[in-house]
């Protein structure tokens, strides 16, 4: 097996007196989908923020491709090739799909002006590859459905992530058909040889998509299982802490 793309060692995060995460360790390998599951308030979103650089951990080390990194904001996370797809869609609604794809990282032409041609071409190429069905790269985000928007958000993350894509409940706000579409897109990302960490409340989705499942309860890692070698009962028992008869 290849070297892990992300290693978390003994991560701890305190918010004032509250310990949100303690003694958390996990490895993610390239081309692998790891699901992170746990009850509300277990610390999943906090972990995503730690890995993406938004919250520096109180202690512990983050290692990316063998190199320990320290990050204090999301820009540093992005510089390390880590992208996040947020549950609440961090898209600018009245801008076009292609401007959103390149938000904050717009390419410039030789006159120092926005290179729209390039943004449009690259957007169309990627949208096609991922089979995100949108009217055009020129479409305004607010004219798209929830599934199409989440498709754009994932396409953006895919475009920029060289190492790791973090998805925090990417289908929480979507209907059944849209969820299936987004799941298909996530599945297709596996071929891109980046690590994928997905948070989900749907165990069906977790079993459909993931290679491994990591369970978090009250900020502590309860265990990691290979998806093929476990079942829903075991995962539910781990999430709730109750032994099932």
């Amino acid at each position: 097996m290849s070297a892990p793309i992300l290693q978390l060692q003994d991560i701890r995060k305190n918010f004032g007196g509250l310990t949100a995460i303690e003694n958390f360790s996990l490895e993610v390998f390239p081309g692998e989908i790891v699901a992170l599951v746990g009850d509300n308030g277990a610390g999943k979103s906090t972990l995503v923020k730690i890995i993406s650089g938004v919250h520096p951990p109180s202690s512990g080390t983050i290692t990316i491709e063998g190199k320990p990194v320290t990050m204090s904001n999301a820009t540093m996370g992005r510089a390390h090739g880590i992208e996040v797809v947020y549950q609440d869609l961090a898209l600018a609604d009245q801008q076009t799909v292609y401007m959103n794809m390149f938000l904050g990282r717009e390419p410039l032409n030789r006159f120092g002006l926005l290179d729209r041609r390039r943004m449009i071409d690259e957007t169309e190429k990627l949208v096609k590859e991922l089979d995100v069905r949108i009217p055009s790269a020129h479409a305004t985000i607010r004219d798209l459905s929830g599934g199409q928007r989440q498709g754009v958000a994932i396409a953006r993350a895919t475009h920029w992530a060289s190492k790791l894509i973090l998805l925090d409940e990417p289908t929480a706000a979507l209907g059944v058909a849209e969820t299936a579409k987004v799941e298909a897109i996530v599945q297709s990302l596996e071929q891109r040889n980046v690590g994928i960490l997905i948070i989900s409340h749907s165990l069906d989705q977790v079993f459909k998509l993931s290679d491994r499942i990591c369970v978090l309860r009250r900020g502590k890692q309860i265990g990691v299982r290979e998806t093929k070698k476990t079942d829903k009962n075991e995962i539910i028992a781990m999430i709730t802490g109750l032994q099932q008869q």
Partner: protein
Amino acid sequence: MTSANTGTEVGSFASRFNLQQYVVYLGFLAIFLFFAFMLRDSGFLTVRNLSNIVLQTAPVTIMAIGLVFVMSAGEIDLSIGSIVAVSALTAAVTIASYGMAAGIVAGLGAGILIGLINGALVAYVRLPSFLVTLATMGLFAGVSRSMTDLRSISVTNEAFTGFFGSGSLLGVPSLIWWTVIAIAVGHLIYRETRFGAHVLATGDNARAASVSGISVPKIRLAVLTISGGLAGLAGLLYAGRLQAAKYTLGETDLMTVIAAVIVGGTLLNGGKGSIVGALVGSLMMGMLNNGLILMGLSVSDQMIVRGLIILTAVAVSLRDKSR
């Protein structure tokens, strides 16, 4: 565009795109034709009257450019009228003692400084721009009154009055040059630069902008500083054209500027706007002013008609936003 990607929403996308875009031009045309017909014997259509409209509108157009940036970033600047008076008076007083160059620097500098104060309070103290600029509007209205004890200061420097007012280059009046250059530069920055894109993203969804690595406080500081600087330039244009500065300059412009910007298709809540639209909106306001006077409406009737038109514009703008 690859037709394979075409989804079901193309129709609604296309129709929405068209209507909002052309409302201001249709409105402009309608008002123009209305006055051209109604005032055909009162001199509305003379070259002299039409070019007068453009000359009189120049300061409002310049301020409108600044307000497009401010409103696109989701902020507002109510202090521009007061900045006009402070800048014009500062320039006039400075020119009298130190000459034209010093006067320009002092006048523009005053506008930029007030803009920076607005911007810093909004961006870093995190106060709402509505309240900050409401306060500085009052504060600097007081400053402009106390600067010269309500007296008017005349500007006799001919280089200055030519450059900012009555002069011309290649047969084109300097106020038209200022308008054209400011619109061209403003449009380029707004539409074609990273800064313009980041202003729009900030007004559209500040959180999305922020997690995308855009420094939202810097954008807020920048737009209010630009607005202050352009209001300062408007002050110089007034001082140049009228060959005098007084605390009343710019006093009644705020409503006209806001109306021009909103009629021109810039959304009150940010994320979308147009510099060229603001120019057309500004010319429309100037034309309205001119036409209503030529029609013989009393000052109070003019105010009522203008107010009604602004109300209509705001209604259209908000309706679009909520769709």
